[in-house]
Amino acid sequence: MLEELGKRAQQAVELAQRAGAQDAWASASRGRSVEYSWRDGALEKVQENTSRGLSISLYVDDRYSSHSTTDLRPEALERFIGEAVALTRALQPDPFRKIPDPSLFEGRPTDDLRLVDESIDGITVEQRLAWLKELDAGLHSDARVISGTSGVQDAHSMGASASSNGFFGTSESTSVWYGGEVTIQDEGDARPEGWMWAGARGTAGLISPQEIAATALSDALKRLGTQKGPSRKGLMIVDPRAAQNLVSKLLAPASGSSVQQSRSFWVDRLGKPAVSEKLVITDEPLLPGGWASRHFDGEGISAKPMDVIRGGALQNYYLSTYYARKLELAPTTGGASNRVVHPGSRDLAAILADAGDAIYVTSWLGGNSDATTGDFSLGMRGHLVHNGEIGGPIGEMNVTGNLLTLFSQLVEVGSDPWPYASLLVPTLVFDGVEFSGA
């Protein structure tokens, strides 16, 4: 199959060249996925798909465009690429737009990334139903449960890319996820919810359905009797499941497009201290089994680990070849792989125990940040912490501030990253945070 996808990508490059493109980059993909959901004792949905697609970038007379299609009938594809080349000619020339230099393709790693686990293809209907029944039983193990929905999804995807200047590469990965969501009845009209999903590359990596259901239910039960929290300034402890959101907002403006377009608080801050030295982040494309592991990026640039934040300073922008050229810098990669926040020595329980008075954030609700200034404001839910003890649930509150200021007030990084994401973040503790509530 990979071979067939490779041929399809190469044929698309040839079609583009025949239509008049000097250079082209094409990727062909194919995937299979199965998804079951189960609600309150009965099967709710079964979905099974095989999907395919082709995307192509064109370089025509110093002009550039990108295209995608799922209509792969030979005559339709030829017409599509022909029209795409003609469209590109109508644009204005851009001296910064060139196909990635082949030197960037050199030194491609060959590490076994452990992204493919053949056990996925052997998952039976009976196995899926058994997991779902166990999840469902766990979710319904409390009389206050109104509804519980469980799900299982497994997927196997493959892709191949080829370019007119000698790039060829393939990729393949498998995954299986299952989990559940539960709604319970509180006093009055409120119906608190809890959820938990876990995934792995193969069935051996999964944690048990019982553990997942127990976490989802326990999270919902912890929300019973939620009160509106206070307005105050103080210590904020962020659960690993919630901490990703903050780090993601901090790093999003480190992209070449944001920086080059002056829509980034990281402009002119490369290498300059801006946040706490406790925050160390590296980009790790070769992490075995990682959710964003790869041998090469979307432009074919060979993968290598990269410092993102170290010594309190941003060390590298995420630079595609285009924005690197515009900024007169060397390209790194335009797309993040696994981003790892280097863990500290204590887990959440130990941190909470000597936190004194604080607010412990378990999840966010809405909110946003301004990439240019770093100003942010986020809705939150969590618990009051008094003398190191977790108190009652609080919600209907906002946390407001500036991302650079917040991360300069980072006082501790936990030892407990949430593993089910490509951005691996442990518990984070910040001082002097503005809370807005009652």
Binding site: R39, D40, K45, V46, Q47, E48, N49, R52, G53, Y64, S65, H67, S68, T69, T70, D71, L72, F80, E83, A84, L87, T88, A90, P93, R97, I146, S147, T149, W177, E181, T183, D189, A190, P192, E193, R223, T226, S231, R232, K233, Q261, R263, K326, L365, G367, N368, D370, A371, T372, S377, L378, G379, G395, E396, N398, T400, F435, S436, G437, A438
Partner: protein, 516 residues
């Protein structure tokens, strides 16, 4: 990847290069449409999938027969051919374009509230029959007889356009994009960078259901987005504005370009003087237009019937009860001409409509798809929508808004001693069960002593749906529908929506800010 936020419904501006952009209010001045030229008229009449892909009624019948071989209460084939095109300007040149074709068919079998689903991008009969067998596996009954004849009920036309987007060449778009950029650059000497994004396209869909109904719809969509970066000394601010709708090329006149460009500049320049309000609970005035985001989050999602059928919505026991002031009438409407959230038919082939959710403060109706309509024994409200052929439909909003009330905007502002006005937004979110919702204000104003005093920015508001409804104390008479490019997310599916509001006072919500 798994959508772990599936219980948290969110609303956002669809990504167009930048993640955070303010949303516009609607622009007036679009006159009535001329008669449709031949090409567009033909698309609206249908026959596209037969002429382009050889999908005739006999083939549809054979696939439906396979789909219902193990029984079905409902089900359909959802054929889709979506084309999209975008062009963008950055650093003064129009140097990037893209195009896309998404073709496929989704096949669904419904048994009670159980769904079997499969899709394929390969429209050969062999591939469709295989997908039909996969979808049918959920059922275990006896075969249905597929329709022997098909009905093609008339489909209304809420968004006729003069020329199909596939026939509008790029050459005509370039001067408009350059004009929008030039207008923005000239809007203020502090403007440093301008980027413009243009998007257009159309979905051609054909829905063939097991009752023998075939419905076709041609759904155009276009959007223009202007982003500006301004510099004052060392301080940099960025913002933007966009408009979107089920419109054709003829929509873009100079007045529209001027309005989008000037809004982008105005919203950017205002950020230099804006501050954060004090933290805590305070009255919030929702400016007419995009503030309809409050309804979308606080009420709309909670009234989608799937959540109520499952008992997971905070509104599940409130039907027929008084939930708000008598001034409050909330509508979800799929039939507004040319609006982003409008649909001629829903994605199950049902006629769409104007659905009154709350009438004079009393909860009147949920938003139904065919599954929930069958569950509650009512007619579908034509709210079954899906992102694409890759997804089964769900009850979704279309254009959600509040009708005019008795007050004037001036009276509403004068009634506030210390509070804020919310004017432009980037996104919102709601938890269906707890009822907590949020929306993020990009631009707003401080009110002190009944007067507007200073601009504010980048503030999240959080409230509880039923509580916020009860706290609506004033509704003005200046209704506006926003035509920003809003996309609503639910269960991993994004659909285009619209929203609107007259000026409204909510007596108390929690405003993010700084503690004194």
């Amino acid at each position: 990847m798994v959508t772990t936020l599936s219980r948290r419904q969110f609303l956002k501006t669809a990504a167009a290069g930048s993640a955070i952009l303010a949303m516009p209010r609607f622009l007036a001045g679009c006159g009535p449409k001329a008669a449709m030229p031949a090409a567009a008229a033909q698309l609206a009449q249908g026959g596209f999938f037969q002429s382009a892909f050889g999908i005739d009624e006999a083939m549809i019948r054979r696939v439906l027969s396979e789909l219902t071989a193990r029984g079905a209460d409902g089900g359909e084939l959802y054929f889709q051919h979506a084309t999209g095109s975008s062009v963008s300007l950055e650093d003064g040149i129009i140097s990037k374009a893209s195009s896309s074709v998404d073709l496929g068919v989704g096949l669904r079998v419904v048994i009670g509230d159980q769904v079997g689903y499969a899709y394929t991008e390969d429209l050969t009969e062999e591939a469709m029959l295989a997908a039909a067998r996969t979808a049918a596996a959920i059922a275990s009954g006896s075969a249905l007889v597929a329709p022997t004849a098909f009905r093609r009920p008339p489909v209304p036309s809420y968004y006729p356009i003069e020329v199909p987007w596939s026939e509008v060449g790029i050459a005509g778009k370039l001067p408009l994009i350059e004009r929008a950029a030039a207008l923005a650059k000239a809007g203020d000497p502090a403007i440093d960078k301008v980027s413009v994004y243009w998007g257009d396209g159309a979905d051609t869909v054909m829905i063939a259901d097991i009752q023998g109904r075939i419905v076709e719809d041609y759904r155009p969509m276009t959007r223009l987005w202007v982003n500006t970066v301004a510099r004052r000394g060392t301080e940099v601010q960025a913002n933007g504005s966009n408009v979107a709708g089920r419109r054709g090329f003829e929509w873009y006149d100079d007045a529209l370009l001027q309005e989008v460009a000037s809004q982008a500049v105005d919203r950017t320049m205002r950020l230099f003087d804006a501050r954060r309000p004090p933290a805590g609970e305070m009255p919030v005035v929702l400016a007419a237009g995009a503030s309809g985001i409050l309804l979308h989050e606080a009420v709309g999602h909670g009234l989608e019937a799937d959540f109520n059928r499952k008992g997971t919505s905070i509104f599940a026991d409130m039907m027929g009860k008084s939930v708000s002031s008598e001034h409050v009438t909330i509508v979800d409407n799929g039939v507004l001409p040319h609006e982003r959230g409008s649909i001629n038919v829903d994605d199950e082939g049902n006629p769409t409509q104007r659905t009154v959710l709350v009438e004079n403060g009393v909860l009147k109706s949920y938003l139904h798809d065919s599954i929930s309509a069958r569950h509650y024994g009512v007619e579908s409200t034509g709210s079954g929508r899906r992102e694409s052929f890759r997804h089964a439909p769900l009850p979704r909003m279309r254009a959600t808004y509040m009708e005019n009330g008795p007050h004037t905007p001036e009276e509403v502002i004068a009634a506030v001693d210390h509070g804020i006005i919310a004017e432009t937004f980037t996104n919102g979110q709601v938890q269906i069960g707890a009822g907590d919702f949020t929306f993020y204000i990009k631009n707003g104003w401080l009110i002190e002593g009944g007067k507007v005093t200073a601009p504010i920015k980048d503030i999240n508001i959080i409230g509880n749906g039923p509580e916020a409804l009860r706290k609506i104390t004033m509704v003005a008479n200046d209704f506006k529908l926003d035509s920003g490019g809003w996309t609503c997310g639910k269960d991993g599916q994004g659909v285009p929506v619209s929203q609107g509001l007259p000026t409204v006072l909510v007596s108390s919500m929690t405003v993010g800010g700084e503690n004194a």
